[in-house]
Symmetry: C2
């Protein structure tokens, strides 16, 4: 068994220290954020990523912004807005910022300490949510399951064990996972780089595959359930998640395989009515046309590179949250599970 994984997010002496996920699995190195610009850069280039983790760093970002405003005189709201807007599709980032800001402005004299406490509370709640999602999700995993997953949803994105990967890890512990199929998740390869790394740490038998090869696994009857995370769940149950998720949802539907989304209720955004209302972040062509300094296409080739896609609720078999499972996924079931308990 491997050593404990390195901490993804830590706060030390006024500095937010982030494991640089762009360097994994080859290198474990860290980004030290002492100002908002460094944090925004780290978020934009995906050194830190994943819905719950973005909520936590959003909250820490408020502590950074408060210190920077004091130091430089820049308006603190301008700084917190830069953090909140760094990735438009991920709802947790903005809500993490808002929560820490509320704490800072209502928490008495030491605003920075209140923001820090909010970030730490968020991380602790997220860890508890991971545990609860794993428990609820486990009921959906049959014995001997061949599980297909996309992108990365484990400890690297969370204050705890993550979202979809937390369910997979729990199912593995319960002896139910025959094999984990890991979509490589182009263009940034979070599956090949990060999920394979986490699966190895957990001792889960796994194979990486080109995203487009998943279809032939479905056709061969080699997939019993699909488990993915979410960057935003809309009021109607539409799911914004890593590009490629929708493709798997259509394939799962075509082959009558359950398609399960695992996300904490902090990822549900009832203010966004449907998938059509989600702003999809378009990213640079170079992410597609170059890998590790190697040109994959003729220089100057244009690329279509949306970070996310939208899966309509009719294709989602179940939504697993820390409060339980919504199934079928629709306006009513999402409203019920999103409401404070």
């Amino acid at each position: 068994v491997a050593a404990d994984p390195p901490a993804t997010i830590a706060w030390r002496d006024g500095t937010l220290v982030l494991l640089d996920q762009t360097q994994l699995p080859g290198t474990e190195c860290y980004v030290e954020c002492r100002d908002v610009a460094t944090l925004v850069g780290a978020i934009e280039r995906l050194a830190v990523r994943g819905a719950p983790a973005l909520g936590i760093v959003g909250a820490y970002g408020v502590a950074l912004a408060l210190a920077e405003a004091t130091r430089t005189g820049v308006d603190v709201r301008e700084l917190t807005e830069r953090v909140a807007a760094a990735r438009p599709t991920a709802v947790n980032l903005r809500s993490g910022v808002e929560r820490a800001w509320r704490a800072a402005t209502t928490g008495g004299e030491d605003a920075a300490a209140a923001a820090l406490q909010a970030a730490q509370d968020l991380a602790a709640e997220d860890a508890a949510a991971s545990t609860a999602m794993a428990r609820h999700g486990l009921a959906l995993i049959p014995d001997g399951a061949r599980v297909l997953t996309h992108c990365n949803t484990g400890a690297l994105v969370s204050g705890g064990g993550g979202t979809a990967f937390a369910v997979i890890a729990a199912a593995h512990t319960a002896g139910r996972v025959r094999h984990l199929w890991v979509d490589e998740t182009r263009p940034l390869l979070q599956g090949a780089r990060l999920t394979a790394y986490e699966a190895r740490r957990c001792g889960i038998p796994h194979s990486v595959l080109p995203d487009s090869a998943a279809a032939s696994l479905f056709a061969a009857g080699q997939v019993d359930v699909v488990l993915v995370g979410a960057d935003r769940v809309c009021a109607d149950g539409s799911v914004a998640n890593k590009v490629g998720t929708y493709s798997l949802a259509v394939l799962a539907h075509h082959h009558a395989v359950p398609f399960v989304v695992v996300a904490p209720t902090t990822t549900i955004d009832v203010a966004t009515a449907t998938g059509a209302d989600v702003v999809i972040e378009q990213r640079a062509a170079g992410e597609v046309t170059r890998v590790g300094g190697v040109d994959l296409a003729p220089p100057g080739t244009a690329a279509y590179n949306p970070a996310f896609d939208i899966t309509p609720p009719a294709l989602v078999t179940a939504l697993v949250t820390e409060r339980g499972v919504a199934s079928p996924v629709d306006l009513e079931s999402v409203r019920r599970i999103a409401r404070d308990p």
Copy 2:
């Protein structure tokens, strides 16, 4: 306008000279095959690839085998079988070998000259077939079409303009192509590397995309028709083609977009009843887990890496051949079009 493309396949003084497609688009270099082992190596590592091109090099391979048998005393049938078996899924490779072998054994005194002539005939027929497929396929492309394609199917795979790409080029010349969406085609990136290179040479407006992003283009109504090639068409109309083709077929079906396969009748194999009878070549994990010397996954990670997948005929809107269009695609229409005219 770019200079004429380099010749993909040429014969010079007893040597088969192949453009090394693994080095494109960065470098135009050549593999010189003077013996069967070099040719088989070039086929296996995809220096030469694509159904029609494999038929042509299969025929040239017989000329190489005859010379090598004379030189070394190795059994010539053993040598030709090595060529024919280098890629099990591609039907054209074996049929090209068989055609040249028949010519060599029935062509009078100079067997090698007869094999060479068979290869040159095959290349000329393939060029004529490309022209005819382009003409028949053009009728299926609407004005202002946004075309999605997968892998590489142009001049690099053919004695002429190719298969699906020949139709796209003809539609572009006719002013009908608004945009060409190019699936990058993991793991070996034939779309990003080769189709983008050919699209640029032809002046077709195009963008490369991660294979898994195609789904969101369909959802956004940005795809009017899908055009792909084939490595083998079975008697029932099942299509074996580059992995990821089946995924697009399911997506096209789900979004009611026409899914068109373009292949010469030499690619139809009536001896293979259904897709279940096709041997799918499984390739090395390293193709998925490394790119250009860069590790994409933890060293030692297993990969699922089939070269091809199977699309059932019910998902194929039309099969375009040099003899015309089969639609719907089924046992009867395939038999009719495969029969000698």
